[in-house]
């Protein structure tokens, strides 16, 4: 024994002293960051202006459309429009964003629309960051609600209403024009191969298909999944395609038209496969009316022009 030459009492004292030092060190380790926090105060000029981290591509687009893109201090990997947004630091993907990175950007407000976990939002609130959650993607009409809510929060109500009005006019024109056109039976391909994903009847993309005068063959299905049998049995006139993650449109087209049973579908054989900008369609925001018109163009082809 190392302390054998000490008396028993002294050894106990020494052990107690060791425990005390250990507890002290651990407490300092825990408390130091908490105590240090007020020291990293924000610069005075930054305090005056609201700073925002966007946790959704459509929130980013809305902020830029409202003319307050300069309030943004952070974005996600998916916020790729408009191009200015790319200059902002990213906090990661929607599914596993970095909380540390987010907090280090010191925003006053975080705007999220979908996919972000409740735990992350709670952690943000605990860190004193205001969270605006807009989970509105059930219907096309809720796009206006989304824009209105964001506009209100950043004090751009008038600009917001203007965007909404312009969008509503464009949408009205598209819907009226589509009403005069021949109805096509359409399949909106989201994914194919081992898993068949489509815009089923319970999605707002299906609603958009209806607005542009298309009949969604997957209207009866739910939750974004479909079966190959039903796809073959329902034999769509046209397939609206979106490119796969990490592929170009040509690559997706090639893979789709070389994979059974898709290669044997009438639409594939007749070359009725059209691509749409899936980012524009899937992000409910200021570009949604333009997306609707693009979808109408894709569905009706030359007849639309």
């Amino acid at each position: 024994m190392l302390y054998a030459h000490y008396s028993k009492g002294a050894r106990v004292m020494f052990n107690r002293f060791k425990s005390f030092v250990l507890i002290l060190l651990v407490s300092i380790g825990i408390l130091a960051p908490l105590l240090a926090q007020p020291l990293i105060e924000k610069n005075p000029q930054e305090v005056a202006k609201l700073s925002i981290v966007s946790l959704a591509p459509n929130a980013t687009e809305t902020l830029y459309a409202l003319g307050v893109g300069d309030l943004l201090v952070g974005r996600t990997d998916y916020c790729t429009y408009p191009e200015e947004a790319l200059a902002l630091p990213s906090i990661g993907t929607l599914y596993n964003p970095s909380l540390e990175k987010l907090v280090s950007l010191q925003p006053d407000l975080a705007i999220s629309t979908a996919f972000v976990s409740d735990e992350l939002l709670l952690a943000l609130e605990n860190a004193g960051i205001e969270v605006l959650t807009l989970n509105l993607q059930e219907t096309f009409g809720r796009t206006y609600t989304l824009i209105r809510e964001i506009a209100q929060r950043v004090n751009k109500v008038k600009e917001g209403e203007l965007i909404i009005l312009t969008m509503q006019n464009q949408v009205k024109d598209v819907v009226e024009k589509a009403r005069t056109m021949e109805k096509k039976r359409v399949y909106f391909m989201v994914d194919f191969g081992s898993f068949d994903g489509t815009a089923t009847g319970d999605t707002y993309i299906s609603e958009m298909l209806g607005m542009v005068g298309a009949i969604n063959i997957a209207q009866e299905a739910t939750r974004w999944t479909y079966s190959k049998e039903l796809l073959v049995a329902n034999d769509p006139d046209l397939i609206v395609m979106s490119k796969r993650w990490g592929q170009t449109e040509e690559e997706t087209l090639k893979e789709f038209s070389n994979t059974k049973p898709y290669s044997d579908l009438r639409a594939t054989k007749e070359g009725n496969l059209v691509f749409v900008d899936s980012d524009m369609i899937s992000r409910q925001g200021p570009r949604s009316a333009a997306a609707l018109e693009l979808l109408a163009q894709a569905v009706h082809g030359d007849d639309w022009l």
């Binding site: 994914d191 191969g193 081992s194 079966s227 039903l230």
Partner: protein, 326 residues
């Protein structure tokens, strides 16, 4: 007994295959199916669904079941452990990890999915072999090694899905198994696989019986034990890896089929090997038919169904202490 059982199994599988052809979300009636099968249907899309979607699927399920059942029997004999099976020991998980890794790193086009699966499966088999054929290794040790291998590989899969969320659905497919995208090309490939694996396996039934005895008697019979073990294990691994590459991980068939055959026919391989394969086919075809029926517009992963059927059997065997061959 054996011949009658084999005949009954083959007939049931055939009947189930016919029933399976008429079932599915597209809702084709029995009479329409018969019209299509006899080539008198005029409905092109029904014809396509039956001949291009359902028939390849039924056939791949049958062939895959044969392989998984046979592979279970081989693993059990080679490792002298009645609880061994490529799924339980993590070989299937190894194959699916190989596939997922190649999708994530983007070399799947270069190596091909079956080859990537084979690499993953071989690595796991090598590990299991090194542990399992050591002298005096307990059956529990082997199973626990399998559990550990499964843990490591499933952590790896989760990591890949986490890092690569956009490919989540594609990777998830390999962990659950499905016959939904079966094609005639795959049917042909699987037929080759079955021939390459099942024929040598059936031919070496005496050796497999010997493997169950202690090393001394087998050596006395003049058998080069280690070589047979390695060849059989390699063949089984190759066949299972192909199944995984095409259809994902499908568990417990390799456990259920051999045990059912052994319960009825006893442990002699000359008697139980073919019924094992037939049991495998029947079970997997039945599971896949259920997978197609349980959800109205989508599909259920077939691996979920085989696990729901097989896991209770596994627990029952562990509880009953059936560590021995029946």
């Amino acid at each position: 007994m054996r011949k009658r059982l084999a005949l009954a199994l083959a007939l049931s599988t055939l009947l189930l295959g016919m029933v399976s052809l008429t079932l599915g979300p597209a809702g084709i009636s029995l009479s329409d199916t018969l019209l299509n099968l006899t080539g008198r249907s005029v409905n092109a899309s029904q014809q396509y669904i039956i001949f291009q979607l359902r028939l390849p699927r039924v056939l791949t399920a049958i062939l895959c079941g044969t392989i998984l059942g046979g592979a279970g029997a081989v693993f059990q004999a080679v490792l002298r452990n009645p609880m061994a099976d490529p799924f339980v020991l993590g070989v299937s998980a190894g194959a699916s990890f190989g596939v997922a890794l190649s999708i994530t790193l983007g070399y799947s086009a270069f190596l091909g999915l079956p080859f990537s699966a084979l690499l993953g499966a071989l690595a796991t088999t090598a590990l299991i072999f090194l542990v399992g054929t050591k002298h005096k290794v307990s059956q529990t040790t082997l199973l626990l090694t399998g559990v550990a291998a499964n843990y490591i590989l499933s952590a790896g899969m989760t990591l890949l899905m986490f890092l690569n969320h956009e490919q989540y659905d594609r990777i998830l497919f390999w962990t659950l198994g499905s016959f939904t995208s079966s094609t005639w090309a795959q049917v042909l490939f699987m037929v080759l696989c079955v021939l390459l694996f099942i024929v040598p396996m059936r031919l070496s039934h005496t050796e497999m019986d010997m493997l169950l005895l202690d090393e001394g008697s087998a050596l006395a019979a003049g058998l080069p034990l280690q070589k047979i073990r390695i060849v059989l294990l390699l063949l089984a691994t190759f066949a299972v890896a192909t199944c995984v590459a095409f259809f994902g991980v499908i568990g417990f068939i390799g456990l259920m089929a051999p045990h059912m055959a052994r319960l009825i026919l006893g442990p002699k391989h000359s008697k139980m090997l073919l019924p094992t394969c037939l049991f495998g086919s029947f079970l997997l075809l039945g599971s896949d038919t259920l997978a197609r029926l349980l959800l109205p517009t989508g599909e259920m992963p077939v691996g979920v169904i085989t696990s729901i059927l097989g896991a209770p059997l596994f627990i029952w065997m562990l509880r009953k202490g059936r560590y021995a061959y029946v």
